[in-house]
């Protein structure tokens, strides 16, 4: 909350005193604005009370500068006052008029601001579509994605045209609730979710209790021996009416609200179907009841008989079963976002900082860049940073998926939310708040779970025309039965209602997002960050993978293996000259040579006229003599020398997988140095696994062909793209794509960005803590190539789940519609509306439950439960569905 503290300050002489005090107060975390007047002897401090809890800190700061201060008032500020205060104080302190300040504020606004909203009150995917439409109607909104399963909306809008408040208002106007996602803590979100779940359960229980007596009444129709039949038969009508009214208009009120929201958007949604279905049964019964009562002047059945043509129990049971489905769906949905909740729960709440020699615990929000933080064994590292003192081993598994504790020493980076195992250490905070690795990962997953996969577009297209189509089929069913086939009005209306209910495509809206949510969450648990549905779909279809060599297939830390001198020069000369030049180069090979010279205690020379020639090498002059150090092409084209005499020796080294660089002056070749970058221990295993998955493997490198082939042979790769300049890697990707292959590129997310972006799927490796910086649809935190296999395996399982879900969703509709329309009545197959409602609810539950089976995913292992369960579910539901149809036909006789 924003508050304003009024102060009486004495001892001020001039504006310098104002500036000094203002400067000191701005240093206090939580202080937003300061206005000091030396003439009045007053001060006003606007502050965030959640960050600054002890206002004595303000008084102390003023006293430290040699003045005395007393608090005269401490009040909460309204938003309008906050803005006014900001404008006035900035205007007065910087000689800016309020209008100039407003212009400045406008210029500071983001034309492409992304905001996440938590949305409540959605019943189905149609609600999500309605909300998307409402948001897109707000001025300045560029895109809006609503995830029904996650209950989140992701909006990109122009902040100069509208505000977050406008977006929230638009959602509210559509009949739903919305809050800024950042305003809700994980605990608040959990409480909101629990409230929704218990809301559905309470309504279901309420409906069930009121509907059970009507089930008892239904037995009167089948069995004459039911106790109480003769006594109660004539009262069935009035009692059913009384019991159904609260079910229809209290428990079922949500469906009317949902239908109203969609009608305002000039469309129908799934709530419309339920509302129409239940209203048809209820109001038809009301009409029949009213006619009977008026005609016979009685509210109960005459001669001890039941009032005919009443279907109150149809409406009541329909609502009860749909609410049951909603409750189960809400419970299951809550579990699909377990991954994000788990990550958010990892966040430390406090940090032990050392400031001015004093150690104290502070809320994590107050940690600033540069703070020195003390961490003891067993404690959580609060933010990202670099160790300045001490050492320890850290359990980073919760963030990176790496199960083995990592040794950390002075200079090493630490990640916030990881657990300190053994030693005590101090570290300097380098990333706080939303900059930390954990915050980046959470943001990445949230955006991934809010994004739509291309296959979702297919589901959306179906949903868009399905609901109006269903209403059309239902009307046609009624018309054919009543006007063509001569059935009774009640028969025709029941067929109409059953079609409306069974055809409800609720499950279709859940099919893709629930699977993607669980799939991306599972990926995150294994240190694989999948940035949305599109990368998932792409990963499933990958037929070829290009691996960058240096740093991806190899360790990326080349080491000098051979130093060969020629002529009058010795090895130290060769090392001295080459290292002097490579000291100025940023290439990884240069670092290896420089490091080796350091180890050998070689004193380096000063180099003038240094030039790095990309893809070839470097040149420079030492003591007036020009030297060249690089590959063959550099020596032949720039030094204009013939290297054929040493070609054999170089080739022998290259066949061992080494990279050879030649040192030459303008007159002669002086020597050469061989450098080897070792292949990672996991590379061969990863390549073998991918080949077994039916994927073609390629390696791309700037190395010469001989070296490249030697390394590729070690790993088991036969397709080698060698001597490729850095800027040409993207072209190699394109060439493969032109052959009709879906290509993934695996490399460094920053340096290989163009190639990763060109590929159908970019996989950025070993990003460590810079996940947000990485180009590519998939970011792998650990430096383990086997995670590429895991990512593809997970993508295949997730997309398979999506297709299974689509089947479950559409199967019931396709099979159920003709049965509900009573097409097969002559075969004894009919579907009563309430049983249709139950079947429809079960389809939604089966979709969500099926998605949750992805939680059993284990890298490299077969997910048997996930494979077998859908088959069992299909058999079970078909059996149940058949039974519903048989029971319905018996009840219809």
């Amino acid at each position: 909350m924003t508050k304003q503290l009024d102060l009486k300050i004495s001892g001020m002489h001039c504006s310098s005193c104002e500036k000094l005090i203002s400067h000191a107060l701005h240093e206090i975390p939580g202080v937003k604005d300061v206005v000091i007047s030396h003439k009045d002897g007053t001060g006003q401090v606007t502050y965030d009370s959640s960050l600054l809890t002890d206002t004595d800190a303000i008084v102390d700061a003023v006293r430290k500068d040699g003045y005395s201060a007393k608090i005269t008032a401490d009040k909460a500020l309204k938003v309008a006052d906050v803005k006014k205060t900001e404008i006035e104080s900035v205007s007065s302190s910087s000689a800016m008029s309020p209008s100039m300040h407003m212009e400045k504020m406008k210029n500071d606004l983001d034309p492409n601001k992304r905001v996440h909203l938590s949305v409540g009150g959605m019943h189905c995917a149609s609600c999500a579509a309605i909300i998307e439409r409402s948001l897109k109607q707000v001025s300045g909104v560029k895109s809006a994605n609503v995830n029904f399963a996650a209950e989140k909306a992701s909006v990109v809008f122009d902040e100069t045209k509208s505000s977050e408040k406008d977006l929230i208002e638009a959602v509210k106007k559509a009949g739903y609730t919305a809050d800024l996602a950042t305003d809700l803590s994980p605990e608040m979100e959990r409480m909101q979710r629990e409230k929704v779940i218990s809301g559905y359960f309470n309504k279901f229980l309420f409906s069930l209790i009121l509907s059970v007596p009507m089930l008892y009444f239904m037995f009167f129709d089948f069995f004459k021996w039911v106790p109480g039949r003769e006594l109660l038969l004539s009262y069935v009508g009035i009692v059913s009416l009384i019991l159904t009214i609260p079910v229809q208009f209290y428990a079922g009120a949500g469906f009317y609200k949902g239908m109203w929201a969609s009608l305002k958007m000039k469309t129908f949604n799934m709530d419309s179907l339920i509302a129409i279905g239940t209203s048809t049964a209820f109001f038809y019964s009301i009409i029949n009841y009213s006619i009977y009562a008026i005609t016979n002047k009685t509210f109960i059945g005459l001669d001890g008989m039941k009032i005919p043509e009443l279907y109150f129990e149809t409406a009541a049971f329909l609502i009860t079963f749909v609410l049951l489905g909603k409750w189960l769906e809400a419970k299951a949905k809550g579990r699909t976002s377990d991954a994000i909740r788990k990550l958010m729960g990892l966040q430390a709440k406090t940090a032990r900082v050392i400031r001015s020699g004093i150690t104290k615990d502070i809320p994590i929000e107050e940690v600033a860049h540069g703070d020195i933080i003390l961490v003891r064994p067993g404690e959580k590292v609060p933010v990202d940073g670099n160790i300045t003192k001490g050492s320890s081993s850290l359990d980073e598994s919760m963030v990176t998926g790496e199960s083995i504790p990592i040794e950390k020493n002075v200079g090493d980076g630490v990640i916030g939310s990881t657990i300190n195992k053994t030693g005590t250490f101090e570290f300097e905070a380098t990333r706080v708040g939303s900059e930390t690795t954990l915050a980046q990962i959470i943001r990445l997953i949230e955006e991934a779970q809010g994004s739509k996969a291309p296959i979702q577009a297919f589901a959306d297209r179906i949903s868009a025309w399905f609901v109006p189509a269903v209403i059309g089929i239902a009307i046609l069913t009624f018309l054919v039965w009543f006007f063509v086939l001569g059935a009774t009005l009640s028969f025709s209306l029941l067929a109409f209602t059953a079609v409306i209910v069974i055809a409800c495509p609720c499950a279709l809206g859940l099919a893709t997002p629930t699977a993607i949510m669980v799939g991306t969450g599972k990926g995150a648990e294994n240190g694989i960050l999948i940035k949305g549905g599109e990368p998932l779909e792409s990963a499933e279809k990958i037929k070829a993978i290009i691996f960058d060599k240096t740093g991806t297939l190899t360790n990326g830390k080349p080491e000098v293996t051979d130093v060969i001198s020629l002529g009058n020069f010795d090895e130290d000369d060769v090392l001295r000259i080459s290292a002097s030049m490579e000291k100025l180069s940023e290439h990884s090979l240069a670092e290896a040579i420089y490091a080796h010279a350091q180890e050998e205690d070689i004193e380096l020379d000063e180099v003038l006229d240094f030039a790095a020639i990309p893809g070839l090498g470097v040149s420079g002059s030492i003591d007036g003599k020009n030297y060249f150090f690089g590959n063959r092409k550099l020596i032949s084209d720039f030094a204009d020398l013939d290297y054929s005499k040493i070609e054999k020796k170089i080739a022998k080294l290259e066949e061992k997988g080494k990279t050879v660089m030649i040192l030459a002056s303008k007159e002669e070749i002086i020597g050469f140095i061989a450098v080897a970058d070792r292949v990672k221990a996991t590379s061969k295993e990863a390549v073998d696994r991918l080949k077994n998955m039916g994927i073609e493997i390629y390696m791309v490198t700037g190395d010469n062909a001989r070296t490249a082939k030697a390394i590729a042979a070690e790993i088991g790769i036969t397709n080698v793209l060698a001597e490729v300049l850095p800027e040409d890697k993207a072209i190699e990707v394109k060439k493969l794509q032109e052959k009709g292959l879906r290509v993934a590129m695996v490399g460094d997310g920053i340096n290989d960005a163009p190639a990763l972006a060109q590929a159908d799927l970019g996989i950025a490796m070993g990003s460590g803590t810079d996940v947000a910086m990485e180009t590519g649809g998939i970011v792998i935190i650990k430096n383990d190539l086997r995670d590429v296999c895991v990512a593809i395996q997970l993508a295949r399982q997730t997309m398979s789940k999506v297709r299974q879900n689509m089947f479950f969703a559409l199967f019931y509709n396709v099979v159920g519609i003709p049965i509900a329309a009573r097409v097969f009545i002559s075969f004894g197959l009919v579907l009563k509306p309430e049983l249709a409602g139950l079947a429809m609810a079960m389809s939604s539950v089966s979709v969500v439950t099926n998605s949750l089976l992805l939680k059993y995913f284990k890298p490299g292992k077969l997910n048997i439960i996930s494979k077998v369960a859908p088959i069992i579910m299909t058999i079970l539901f078909v059996t149940l569905f058949w039974q519903f149809a048989v029971i319905s036909s018996r009840m219809a006789e």
């Binding site: 001039c14 504006s15 310098s16 500036k19 000094l20 040699g66």
Partner: protein
């Protein structure tokens, strides 16, 4: 060690002295700042400092080198 002396306008109070010292403290190489209420300024630095650097450091201050 380099030493410089300048004269600023008369200062109002200790706060003015503190603020001027804070401004001058941003100049790299200055190791000591002595300033009195009459505006007599003595600087010690570990490198040669041009007057323009001092003027630039005080550009937002009420007090300038006379």
């Amino acid at each position: 060690m380099f030493s410089y002396q300048y004269k600023l306008g008369k200062l109002n109070c200790e706060a003015c002295i503190k603020l001027v010292k804070m401004d001058l403290g941003t100049v790299k190489g200055i190791t000591n700042i002595d300033l009195d209420i009459d505006g007599a300024l003595e600087l010690k630095a570990d490198r040669e400092i041009d007057k323009s650097e001092i003027v630039s450091a005080l550009k937002d201050s009420e007090y300038k080198i006379l």
